[in-house]
Amino acid sequence: MSTRSIVPFGPQHPVLPEPIHLDLVLEDEKVVEAVPSIGFVHRGLEKLVEKKDFQEYVYVAERICGICSFMHGMGYCEAVEHIMGIEIPPRAKYLRTIWCEMSRIHSHMLWLGLLADAFGFESLFMQSWRIREKILDMFEYSTGGRVIFSVNKIGGQRKDMDGDMLKQFMEVLSGIEAETKVIAKTFLGDKAVNSRLRGVGFLTKQQAHDLGAVGPFMRASGIALDNRKLGYAAYPDIDFEPVTSEIGDCYARCDVRIREIFQSIDIIRQAAAKIPEGEVAVPVKGLPDGEYMMRVEQPRGEAIYYVKANGTKFLDRVRVRTPTFANLPGMLETLKGCDFADVPILILTIDPCISCTER
């Protein structure tokens, strides 16, 4: 007869840069149930909307997360712009697209490094983060920041990229592409890495749908859904299709994210080739009145920015549904039946961002 025990996992754990706690119910070495516990560092950023006016709140939105900071700022701005009927200049849309895809490469590279670290492949971790550093340099060069960029504003962008900068970025991206191909061979082909990722943590297409999974976690289970197809920023002018896999295990999630890195490089190239000349912002007149639910495809998946305005400079409500929050039920499902030793890898493959979840 198997022995049933409860093992606390987190909130402090080597594989978790941020705090989340799970009560793992084990039968011998198999997980039969996991009960999550979050809220260790809840910051109440949504509450701050009562004290910051709708223009100032862009800076708060950016600070929801240090990895997706650009996209949080942009998602909030797009929601307010929809309410106010503001059409931002075409060049601003392309700039948003380029910075969004740089954020995606940065986030996926960070995740690859963390994954390599979790299965003990330290040199692979180092190589992933070395490549990521080049994206951060591009951010610093184009925005002045490496974590918080402050280039979004309601009505457009605060900064522009000139032709020389874009040309330089294309050269850097070619280098990143070549180097990523090298590490991708190890992530997807190395026998030791495969033994940790293949056949672990299955999530079927039906489960992904029923449990409300989003992003690469969902697409790795065969659902071709990517909110960039909704047509915000300059994505309607870009040729791309959602990256999917039919397998649904940890390997598939790694595969999807690696292919999304190459896709992001391609999107940036397309955007740089098509970016029109012109202004990067329009003046904002009046005050927002109404509500809108903006959906953005962040690196970790669908983020939703619900904004409700009342015709004054202070908003009634800002609510951000982050991708990690949506992926928690799916993660719990994948944990059922897994080996205790696979729990850290499994948690990592949803690419959890507790900072976003604890907004």
Partner: protein, 111 residues
């Protein structure tokens, strides 16, 4: 229902409407609470491919709402969040954290 619609529902018709959406293959996208002058409004969002539809339930202060977590399993997280931040009582949640989803000093800060 057309994309982006916000359809108002009463407390009695919430569950039937949610069941209908489940039957039509929609996934739960999110549940959001907002404080209003007359109490609260809950917005339940459901997605099918890229289409998003919303059900809106208006609640008087102190009113309770029934959980939809037996229809949509992920709802328990949203419902616990609504309870912790707004103080709205949600009955029959699949997993009830009893006010401990978020470890925050101020109880029900949005109430």
């Amino acid at each position: 229902m057309r994309d982006g619609i916000i359809m108002e529902v009463g407390a009695g018709s919430l569950v039937p409407e949610v069941l209908m959406l489940k039957h039509e293959g929609y996934r739960l996208v999110q549940i959001c609470a907002t404080k209003t002058e007359k109490g609260y409004e809950l917005t339940y969002s459901f997605g099918q491919a890229y289409k998003l539809v919303n059900l809106r339930l208006k609640l008087a202060p102190g009113a309770e709402v029934v959980s939809i977590s037996d229809i949509y399993e992920p709802a328990f997280l949203y419902e616990n969040e609504i309870h912790d931040l707004f103080g709205i009582k949600v009955r029959m949640m699949a997993l009830d954290y009893e006010g401990n989803l978020y470890r925050i000093d101020q109880k029900n800060p949005f109430q």
